[in-house]
Symmetry: C2
Subunit: 295 residues, 2 copies
């Protein structure tokens, strides 16, 4: 039977820039709800500086309440310190992140692309030693808010560096939500050509209603993994004009209607989505961050 | 350069079941507006009984005012009488129509599928003799509102009959708007296998937001022609639950953004769309039909 792996990024990308803070118990309930609906892997948090993402600076606390689990817990990490925190918090996988375009990388991570890649080598080494699954995410893999169309060669340079670090997956992120099926086909085929054995995933932002068209064509060309968020929440705070993530429920329905199994019970997501949107709508401020969570 | 042919069906499918009648001068202005924006072919009307489609029973009058033209005028015809009217009215192409499913064919055309196909043989012969382009449309090519999933074999039977009649194109119609990329791939590949030299087109109804995903995958598998309507107007009156057509402007934008040329200036469609929607919104009743237009 045809299958596809859908990863929920609601607690990380969906909440990091939301109009209200979701307290730790609600985050835990959200994640348990997603897991209960059959979501196989969840990006729980990002281990970055709390100054960057105060709304999700509670990753250690959240993961501390999620020790026993069947699913895969993922954390986004920008550097070695992030991996160290991820290991202590007990995650199963880390998402390393670098932009294919220089300008977005500087805006997002405050250093050059090469400096970032050099730092990620140490991060990847430690993650591998600890048996963590390593996901290499390429931001601005299609267009950059500052530079426009990103050259395929720039994406392939980052992919080559990731492969040298021994990543398990390559994730192409459509940071701006401007990818088209034709671009996705071009880039997926190029990556499959240099790394036929690696899982290739997509992180799409659904800006113009082209999200599912991109998904459908990516699936045809061998993409096996898609990231999504409840209610289409999300958007990169460092990419002006970026739209929300793919809507998790719509994505599940889209695949299941085609006989492609996601393992997710779409009807069980409704209540989970309603609950988290209700909490966000309260517009709570981010809690004061403590020294120990400094990234 | 990659190209795709987009056919506008606003005057026929968009207006046949609209909440208001569009008078002949407005229909002519609509069609000239579409042509002026570069739309290469327009389904102008249907030559059916005015009892069936009173809002578009004015096809002769409309076409009478459109004698000089650069584009391709298409009329939907259900039988020989329809082709005779189409020839007198000066169209360039006819769309023959039959459903792959028996129940929808009876609801739509009031006779069995085989009876319809037998009648269409004479219609196709006359159209060919007169040098008209012949489009063979297969309604309920995916799902039927009464029978559910339609067997691929039922679609291929209709296609074989159409090929025997010498049609120039096969059009698969997603009457209910329930097609998925996977179904489209299956059916397009099967038709391309038996008729590799024929143009294959799609007539989609965008029910669940999967329209562009279906378009994208169809394009990958060799579909060169797509039908659409301004404002996503349309829907089959004999298919309960059917949604509107693909939105013409969104379809043009989708292809042009990928470097696939449609030949259509999307920005020139805005005013055309606004004008026709304004007329529809007036809610004018259908004019009384005259004896001479009896189908």
């Amino acid at each position: 039977m045809a299958t596809v792996r859908i990863i929920d990024v609601t607690p990380r990308d969906g909440l990091q820039d939301a109009p209200g803070y979701v307290p730790v118990p609600d985050k835990v309930q959200l994640i348990q709800g997603l897991l209960g609906a059959g979501v196989p892997a969840i990006e729980v948090t990002a281990f970055v500086s709390p100054r960057w993402s105060p709304l999700i600076a509670d990753g250690e606390e959240v993961l501390g309440q999620l020790r026993d689990h069947q699913g895969e817990w993922i954390a986004l990490v920008p550097n070695l310190k992030g991996v160290q925190r991820a290991i202590r918090a007990g995650v199963d996988a880390v998402t390393l992140v670098v932009s294919a375009s220089e300008s977005h990388n500087r805006a997002n991570l405050n250093r050059s692309r090469d400096e970032t890649l050099n730092l990620l080598q140490d991060a990847a080494r430690l993650a591998r030693q600890q048996g963590l699954r390593i996901r290499g995410a390429v931001s601005t893999a299609f267009d950059c808010p500052f530079e426009g169309r990103v050259a395929l060669s720039a994406v392939l340079e980052v992919v080559a560096r990731y492969l040298a670090m021994g990543v398990d997956e390559i994730i192409l992120a459509d940071t701006l939500g401007t990818a088209t099926p034709r671009l996705i086909k071009e880039r997926v085929q190029a990556i499959k050509a240099v790394a036929p054995e690696k899982t290739v995933g997509l992180h799409l932002h659904d800006r113009r209603g082209w999200g599912l068209a991109n998904v459908a064509v990516a699936y045809e060309y061998g993409v096996q993994e898609f990231e999504a968020a409840l209610g289409g929440l999300g958007g990169c705070p460092y990419a002006p004009g970026a739209a929300g993530n793919l809507d998790l429920e719509r994505l599940v329905e889209f695949f299941e209607a085609q006989g492609v199994s996601t393992g997710i019970a779409g009807d069980r997501l409704v209540e989970v989505r309603q609950r988290v949107l209700t909490v966000i709508a309260q517009g709570l401020p981010a809690p004061e961050t403590s020294k120990k969570m400094e990234g």
